[in-house]
Amino acid sequence: MEFKAFLIKYAEIGIKGKNRYMFEDALIRQMKFALKEVGDFAIRKQAGRVFVEAKGEFDFDEAVSALQRVFGITGICPTIIEENKDFDHLAEVCCKFIDEQYPDKNRTFKVYGRRADKKYPMNSMEFSAEMGSRILDAFHELKVDVHHPDILLTVEIRDRVYIYSDILKGPGGMPIGTNGKAMLCLSGGIDSPVAGYMIAKRGVRIDATYFHAPPYTSERAKQKVVDLAKKVSRYAGPINLHVVNFTDIQLAIYEKCPHDELTIIMRRYMMKIAEHFAREGGSLALITGESIGQVASQTIHNLAITNEVCGMPVFRPCIGMDKQEIVDIAEQIDTYETSIQPFEDCCTIFVAKHPVTKGNLKIIKRSEEALKDVIDDLMKQAIESVEIIRVSE
């Protein structure tokens, strides 16, 4: 018995009222994209649900893991489709199904029949009861439990008959493209790819900005960020990665501002540049991987100072997470191994031994005064230096 189809369950889309078709269409679009390399599938909406049906050969595990990267899906049910609706035939199929899927019969079960085809000679209740007793006859070890069954065998009688019991977990969230676009500040670290993933999960398209500082950072460090963007794009879809040369701004800050404020001031200019590209590309918010207190620049005081330069919302989905919680997600989305490659990034090259942890906005602004003759030109040059790489899986 081979699974040729999947019934896709989704949660929040179902409650979106008049916009529902838009969410469903986005979901189907993303599913098609994810399954493109797996095989030839027909995906269709039917009575408030989405069915994926294989038109040819495919690898089951590959298909499931592709679907598990599509935001909006909460459950994936591997399904058997039967053309022949004859009850005796269906009873045979259901028994075989139970036998193959559950070698250990020492369990409880329930049959959940749904008769959408009103011409069918039995109603849902009758069907469920009769099918349950057939299965009991076949396997004496099984017990019925209508409240908390181990196995919930669903049989839907529609144009054809759909049989499934198992629900594999989907990633949840909302389909990409249903909630606008945001600009991810992507470093080479562990947190920012996770932040991008978490916002993408809510249906947000992602662009990204990366700051490099040649010759202090290497071509390999940049390649690492491209690799990370690629990993995120497995979930988030294609990403426009903006690579900005930050060297001269950094050196100017290094020369003209107090050393212990270097990182904060640097981050303020990074935010401004990221915001520039966000507006240019139609993003409505920035995303960072910041988490309160993780490093000196992410104390609540310093986050407030960094935030101050930015005129759009800054999403920080990792803000309340511990490092290990972030690492767990990074491992789950397979960015961790890439993130821990030891290349220097531009935040670490000139970092002070004892950076300011409780920055004061007035003092920082006064320090920035020292840059006023050069900073506009440097910002302009940095913005002009951008290289945009379209990253997709």
């Binding site: 040649p214 010759p215 202090y216 950072t217 290094y254 050393h259 030891p342 090259i349 000139f350 970092v351």
Partner: protein
């Protein structure tokens, strides 16, 4: 302008090497083990290469085993010898400045019950001969020494080492990692009392993925790769015919007008060092090898200087290319007693016959321009 000064990492192939590789791929693509003409013709490439190599070492062609490169040669020399001679003893001697492809097999052997003695080196990276003599015991089965060190170009007194080893214990085998030395020197294993010699193709303008191990006749070495019994069972697997043909060609070419070639490389190195030493706060760690210059630039991180030179089209290594992927500190630079301020600031410039005086002048000019800027911006 472009200056490729990373020939210790790898070299550009000779055009004639490329030609013969293509020929062996497109025309004579047979399997040397096949019985038909296609096989015979492919086998001829292998035979020819083996003969050219044997001649360059003044040894017998049957003493050459082709491998996938220097790393495999070193692995085979160490692990293969240790396994085959375990009944005679389990003691091996090596030095503190070996390459990872020697160290890691030695660590593996240590974990498997062998005892390894690591000899110290002096401030020039040359092994302590007295310590060597004292270290050799009746149960010493192998002494393994690198001919030219890859990071600083220190040259070991291989001839004296061979004499000491064989005088103290004639049964002890002598392995030389000649990956940075072959092609630079005439190496005659019989005269130097060498039993095993590792060589890599891509350091001498040959292809990557090919090398050989010279194994003196009747030396007991256990093969590491088992299979169809190719190369007299010493290294199974269909021979890498294009690689072998390319390696043979590279050997032939590198030893043509050899003295002249080496003079040219030596002149480039000498000129470079003389010019670099005029800059302030630099230290010369270079050994005698004609192609390797190791220079420390005080107050500049080697990685930053490397990338700054890269922007100018100049390609070099920090420490050794093989160990610089890891943030670990270079073993050799530490072993010769360099202090912390220097070993984090050391670059390796390695030359070949394709390099020119113009490239040297250009590089030194770039250094003169870059160093003051980079020294202005350092980690506080």
């Amino acid at each position: 302008m472009e200056a490729y000064f990373d020939n210790g990492a790898t070299t550009r192939v000779f055009p004639q090497v490329k030609d013969i590789v293509i020929e062996a791929m497109e025309e004579e693509y047979g399997n040397p083990s096949s019985m038909h003409m296609k096989g015979v013709k492919a086998e001829q490439y292998v035979k020819d290469a083996r003969e050219i190599i044997a001649k360059s070492l003044k040894v017998d062609p049957k003493e050459i085993v082709f491998t996938s490169g220097g790393t495999e040669s070193n692995n085979m020399a160490l692990i293969g010898t240790a396994m085959a001679n375990a009944r005679k003893g389990k003691h091996i001697i090596s030095t503190r400045i070996e390459h990872a492809s020697v160290y890691n097999p030695l660590f593996f052997l240590e974990e498997n019950g062998y005892e390894i003695t690591y000899l110290p080196v002096d401030e020039h990276g040359v092994v302590d001969l007295e310590a060597l003599e004292k270290a050799i015991r009746p149960d010493t089965i192998l002494v393994s020494v690198m001919y030219v060190n890859n990071e600083i170009g220190a040259v070991q007194p291989v001839e004296e080492i061979g004499k000491i080893v064989k005088k103290k214990n004639p049964d002890t085998l002598f392995h030389v990692d000649a990956i940075q030395a072959y092609g630079k020197y005439h190496i005659y294993p019989r005269r130097l009392k060498i039993d095993l010699l590792s060589v890599s193709g891509h350091k001498i303008h040959g292809p990557k993925g090919i090398g050989f191990l010279y194994i003196k006749d009747k030396t007991k070495v256990h093969p590491l790769i088992l299979g169809g019994g190719q190369q007299k069972g010493m290294r199974s697997g269909t021979e890498n015919v294009p690689g072998i043909a390319g390696l043979g060609k590279a050997v032939q070419l590198i030893y043509q007008d050899h003295e002249e070639k080496m003079k040219k490389i030596q002149a480039i190195k000498d000129d470079f060092i003389a010019q670099v030493m005029e800059l302030s706060d630099v230290r010369n760690n270079s050994g005698e090898a004609p192609h390797i210059a190791s220079i420390s630039f005080q107050g500049v991180r080697s990685e930053v200087l490397l990338h700054a030179l890269e922007e100018k089209g100049i390609y070099v290594s920090s420490g050794s290319a093989c160990s610089s992927n890891k943030p670990a500190i270079s073993g050799t630079l530490k072993a010769i007693g360099l202090t912390k301020e220097y070993y984090d600031s050391t670059l390796r410039f390695s030359f070949c016959i394709f390099n020119t005086k113009e490239e040297v002048d250009y590089t030194v000019n770039c250094l003169r321009e870059l160093l003051p800027i980079l020294r202005r911006f350092t980690r506080k």
